[in-house]
């Protein structure tokens, strides 16, 4: 899988606490030059990222909901 946002993810991991504090309840876009912009809606962040950096070249992080674990459990039980 193509991943053009490794640099942005590294930057995010290094500055996670500060970013969370500064941009709580926002969406943030981290550019290839590691500039951070914040938005109130996913649509605004996505549109800004695509228009300014090109699709697939920016990190779009959701700080609007508290960090939570993602659970995907859909078992199919075979009857014998």
């Amino acid at each position: 899988m193509e991943n053009n946002i490794k640099k942005q993810i590294l930057y995010y991991n290094e500055h996670k606490d500060d970013l969370l504090k500064q941009y709580n309840h926002k969406y943030i876009v981290v550019s290839p030059e590691l500039q951070v912009s914040s938005f109130d809606a996913l649509s605004e962040g996505f549109t800004y990222g695509v228009e300014n950096y090109g699709y697939g070249n920016f990190l779009l992080k959701d700080f609007t909901t508290p960090t939570q674990q993602v659970h995907i459990i859909s078992p199919t039980i075979a009857r014998i």
Partner: protein, 190 residues
């Protein structure tokens, strides 16, 4: 704007899989129809990683996902548009996951269902899934049953006094109001 979509199944089903269109926001040519499993056990909506790659979706974040047997993997997140009939979510972040099912290549999770109201009914041996956005009211079957018991008792007492009004306070006649409820046996018509 209120939008809604309903899927009528021919039988009682235990897995609700319905067609769901997805696209990269702003790129109509990327639109694809997937088979989506409605899953209240999933916190987030997922699409098959194979579909994501075929569509040319590019990740904009990664998230840890806990699946079966409590195994955690780092999975990519994609912004997409979801539409089922007139029910549209213009922007939502979904997870790309390996999916081996031949029946579905998408899981609709609680993050979609919280956009409105969802109902599953199984009347006359057929499952019907219906949903709308935004949420318009609280549906409480328990309260409905309590109310109809209370009103029926009151109606029987009122009827003896010649009062045919419904005790709920609507001002309508009992027969045209709660007397017509699905909770009461249908009256024989002659």
């Amino acid at each position: 704007m209120i939008t809604a979509h309903t899927k009528h199944f021919d039988t009682i089903v235990r897995r609700m899989i319905i067609p769901c269109e997805i696209a990269i926001p702003g790129e109509e040519n990327s639109r694809q129809t997937l088979s989506a499993l409605w899953d209240t056990g999933a916190t987030s909506t997922c699409i098959s990683q194979e579909v994501a790659e075929t569509m040319g979706l590019k990740p904009e974040d990664f998230t840890p996902v806990i699946g079966m047997e409590n195994k955690t993997i780092e999975a990519p997140l994609y912004s997409i548009q979801i539409s089922m009939g007139s029910f549209i979510i213009p922007y939502i972040q979904v997870i790309g996951l390996p999916m081996s099912s031949h029946e579905h290549n998408m899981i609709l999770g609680m993050d979609v269902m919280v956009h409105g109201d969802v109902s599953i009914t199984n009347h006359n041996g057929k499952t019907t899934l219906s949903f709308r956005q935004p949420s318009l009211e609280t549906i409480d079957y328990s309260k409905e049953v309590r109310d109809i018991k209370r009103y029926t008792t009151m109606h029987m007492a009122w009827q003896k006094q010649g009062n045919q009004k419904c005790p709920c306070g609507s001002g309508k006649l009992w027969d045209n109001c709660h007397g017509n409820s699905v909770y009461l046996p249908k009256k024989a018509k002659y």
